[in-house]
Symmetry: C2
Subunit: 592 residues, 2 copies
């Protein structure tokens, strides 16, 4: 069972996102509370009624492969058709291609519901949205006209083909070939880890494939992007013959077992027909341009799987009876035990912080999309690796805590808690491991501009905290002051990183700690902002006192648990880099 | 592949364990370096050659159940027979019953090897040792003579039957019945989560079952322990008729899939024949007496699974090539990347700290077993919940890091990294969840004596650190001083806990943080002690410089990463309890 946490979603949309800035990019009235409420309500019903019931069965039944055909679990095909029929596959595309051009500030909240309801299933939508995004930006007018609308309508789906066995994180090592052949290319090579690379939910599958042309320079400068449909398209738009791409196998994975992860073989019979997207040899640039979107969406999956695991744990904790809680009475449920309450409160506080951070990230994406100014791009560039890195790592912790609440039942697969733990484990890996996010944050986003962007972010946090401190609200003062302490520690840590600019191995050794520290800080920022707003609103007529009280109490939980950890990470950044680099790999190997 | 980390195991045995104190309980010469080296070498071979090859297949094939018969995975039965034939099942029992009466300081190291080699398989040995321990302490002379020797020889195995569907953590809720019937009892009821409750590796299975007699008082004071063999024993020691206990089903679990977790039904045909162990209505006391042993062994499993996962990740990191590391050259393996080195160094440092803490825990158990003085019991009583709680929680982090090192390959089951992650997840749950360990440490071990025992432990840490600071060794001074800072923070946190003695819900809300803080502190203590010894030894003729250098470098890694975290936990203990308790369960439930 899944119920969208609509109160918290609306709180983030209405109060944490600064819609006065969004108003310059979108029609403020059009995307105001009435329309967004209606969208959220409908999406919540669709997620609970249509998608969520496919989740456990999708894990248990898993996706299957028979002679190159891939059969998705029971219910997936119908659910995807229903998404298309209800228009949910059209959210993010432009109106020109039949889409709804929804702001990310709205669509992120809806997407959280899909991913909570069934992450394996919703991955197909996620990747298709990414491809629509890429084609709208880089494809020719002819390709846009041919390919986007069927994906918007939910009849076709899209994939990303990057990885090869020798080329995972290092895309420069790609060997797949694209040989010019008239108005198209002939693609050959093997691609692995292709999510929804083959399946039975769509009439056609559109692959975006990274490959090299024969004259391409070595390394990452010689890579181009090609559009390779499973079925070729006739001039009238109908489907033609099958292209030369086959599904060799699908992987047996730890989690997201409902989604096919395919090995695709291109060109065994003369070469698959592919069409160049964008300019030749600019493939990695195009990929990087898509990455903000893709990485943001994976961070969102971290939030979504955490929310689903939390809901299941809460339901168990409110129902299960075991022992009489301290100061409780016989027959009280286990949430009466202080440690179970700690687990549930910590999970919920973390999830609220994640959702708040994701909300300002979505708003930053909207601003960056519609405003070419560098400061918008810079802010988004900072937030994306933090969101991807921190939210996905945190999802491992939260899905584990959800198992712990269940005790021995959590270890039994039938309970369902274990599935979330298994599913979440891919999130800090795909679309760039946490180390890749950390390198991005350290080198491209912090050292390259001498710390200017990250300092501006800390300045914004401090300005908000200082304003709240000045308001002198009893409940807010201690938490705002505590966040202020942590930003000071973070500035020291950043100074240390900046001083390592000429010894990049030192900076790289601290990248993981840096990204986690920034996650906690930006999460704390949103929690304290939200707490202050909740207190103010709670004085208004008809306020939802229960919800608002929970929000400021959980801000206190977050600040007292996470701010000390942020400071600990700052200390490790300042004192721990040399110790790690002194450990010689040969010494570790000497006694393996 | 698994290779016992013999250098580190010997280092712990020779240098961290104070054998001058052990000498008063064991013959120091007999259990000196020559014999222990020979045992460790032989055990290492047995673990690598006989047990470890069964691990992946045991997970993939899983244990199966057919009509009440349980078939263990391929190789398990032969491996257990080989353990018996080689005498490894006799380590811990007394010489009177055919055992070798090995000190725990030796046997813990050997047991780590079994658990690393195949945790699912070695669980059977673990439980059988626990039962031998219980019978030697509490069974009648007649029962000892009948039951212990066949278990020592590896022909029979033992189980613990505590849990019932309504009685997990709360054993007072047990309903299984034991009706007197001549010289024995008739047992009836259902027991769940019975590890190796039914299997094909032994001629007979001896169940220790918690149940109530008809006249027993309500709650935990009315529980007794009964010995219930699968096959009754004839007067000549041969096996007689089948007892009235059947395996109803086995669980489909997240991990340890090679081990059967059985639902056992007693008494469907008139009642299973059972014999009282110890005194009537003293069942929970007997269980508690066994718990130090059982919980220590589960902490050991946390170390063991971490070591296994680390070895697999190291092997991958030394072999896999992907991108050119900073300041490296094309073709360098991924361990050249600073973040991969950070992961590997952190894992290894944590594992060394775990092994050091487990070593002093084993020595404390030997001292407590042979010396009735209260201070030995108190020290063991403190260390056991820390070892069980911290080592098992840490194993989740380390097995997760091992997946991360593998990137996408870590998520594919064939690689094997995911198995360790799944296997480890039971460890913070069984033999008392981390919350139970935390309650034990807070209430029974800290508040009950007004903090005397835990203060004595901190005094010991400080005395060691002060002595090292006085020696003024360049590499040791900063780390000893850093641990000293953390013990001061810990004392503040403990004062806060002691001040909460009259508001036990506050103390309970901080228990998890307290146990983790004490784990980091005691781990840091052993790492710094070991580092100082390593530096001194490195000046001796023929010293293994590589190994010793790794040891003090990794101490620096541990101290710079974990001591700041310990201080952060101390702060949360002092500032975070009220926030958690303010979160009302009803408020959480209001928007689930």
């Amino acid at each position: 069972m899944y119920h969208a946490p609509l109160k918290d979603m609306r709180f983030v949309f209405r109060h944490l996102i600064d819609r006065s800035t969004l108003a310059s990019t979108y029609d403020h009235d059009a995307w105001g509370d009435d329309l967004s409420d209606a969208i959220f309500d409908e999406a919540a019903k669709f997620a609970s009624d249509i998608i969520a019931p496919t989740n456990a069965g999708g894990d248990k039944g898993s996706v299957r492969s028979e002679d190159g055909t891939v059969i998705t679990p029971a219910g997936f095909k119908d659910a995807y058709a229903a998404m298309g029929a209800a228009g949910w596959t059209a959210m993010d595309a432009s109106e020109e291609h039949g889409g709804q051009a929804m702001p990310m500030a709205v669509s992120a909240i809806v997407n959280e519901m899909w991913q909570s309801a069934n992450m394996s299933f919703a991955l197909c939508h996620l990747l298709t949205q990414g491809q629509i995004y890429a084609l709208e930006k880089y494809a020719s007018a002819e390709h846009k006209a041919q390919y986007i609308q069927p994906m918007v309508e939910g009849r076709w789906t899209g994939t990303m083909n990057l990885t090869e066995p020798q080329a995972g994180t290092d895309l420069a090592a790609i060997r797949s070939m694209a040989i010019p052949d008239g108005d198209h290319y002939r693609i050959s090579g093997q691609k692995i880890y292709i999510t929804y690379g083959e399946h039975d939910m769509a009439e056609n599958i559109v692959h975006l494939v990274l490959a090299r042309t024969p004259d391409a320079p070595e390394g990452h400068k010689g890579i181009s992007v090609f559009l390779v449909p499973k079925y070729l398209i006739n001039p009238d738009g109908s489907l033609g013959e099958r292209n030369d791409v086959t599904c060799v196998s699908i992987e047996k994975k730890l989690g997201i077992k409902g989604s096919p992860t395919a090995v695709l073989q291109y060109g065994d019979n003369g070469g698959a027909v592919g069409y160049l997207v964008g300019e030749l040899h600019k493939g990695l640039e195009i990929m990087f341009a898509m990455m903000n979107h893709a990485r943001f969406m994976v961070g969102l999956q971290g939030l979504a799987i955490s929310e689903r695991a939390y809901q299941q744990a809460l339901s168990y904790a409110m129902d299960r009876k075991q022992g009489t809680p301290l100061d409780g009475k016989n027959g009280d449920a286990i949430i009466g035990h202080p440690d179970v309450l700690r687990l549930m409160a910590s999970m919920r506080a973390d999830i609220m912080a994640m959702r708040g951070l994701l909300g300002i990230g979505a708003a930053a994406m909207d601003m960056a999309t519609h405003n070419p100014e560098k400061n918008h791009q810079d802010r988004l560039g900072l937030l994306v690796p933090i969101i991807k890195g921190w939210l996905t790592e945190l999802s491992l912790e939260i899905t584990s805590q959800a198992i712990q609440v269940h005790g021995g039942m959590g270890f039994i697969e039938e309970t369902g808690a274990a599935q979330h733990y298994r599913d979440a484990r891919i999130l800090p890996i795909y679309e760039g491991t946490t180390a890749i996010q950390a390198n991005d944050l350290v080198f491209r986003k912090t050292l390259r501009d001498g710390g200017a962007s990250i300092t501006a972010l800390l300045d914004d946090i401090d300005a908000d905290m200082d304003a709240l401190i000045a308001e002198n609200m009893e409940q807010i003062l201690p938490m705002a002051s505590r966040v202020r302490t942590s930003t000071a520690c973070a500035r020291d840590a950043i100074s240390h990183l900046l001083a390592s600019a000429n010894t990049p191995r030192k900076a790289a050794a601290s990248g993981h700690h840096f990204i986690m520290m920034m996650g906690m800080l930006t999460g704390g920022w949103q929690m304290v902002r939200g707490a202050a707003m909740a207190i103010k609103q709670s004085k208004e007529q008809g306020a939802d006192i229960d919800f608002l009280t929970t929000r400021w109490t959980l801000a206190d939980v977050f600040v007292t648990q996470r701010m000390p950890q942020a400071d600990a990470l700052a200390e490790t950044i300042m004192t721990g880099d040399e110790a790690v680099l002194t450990v010689a790999a040969e010494l570790l190997a000497a006694e393996a």
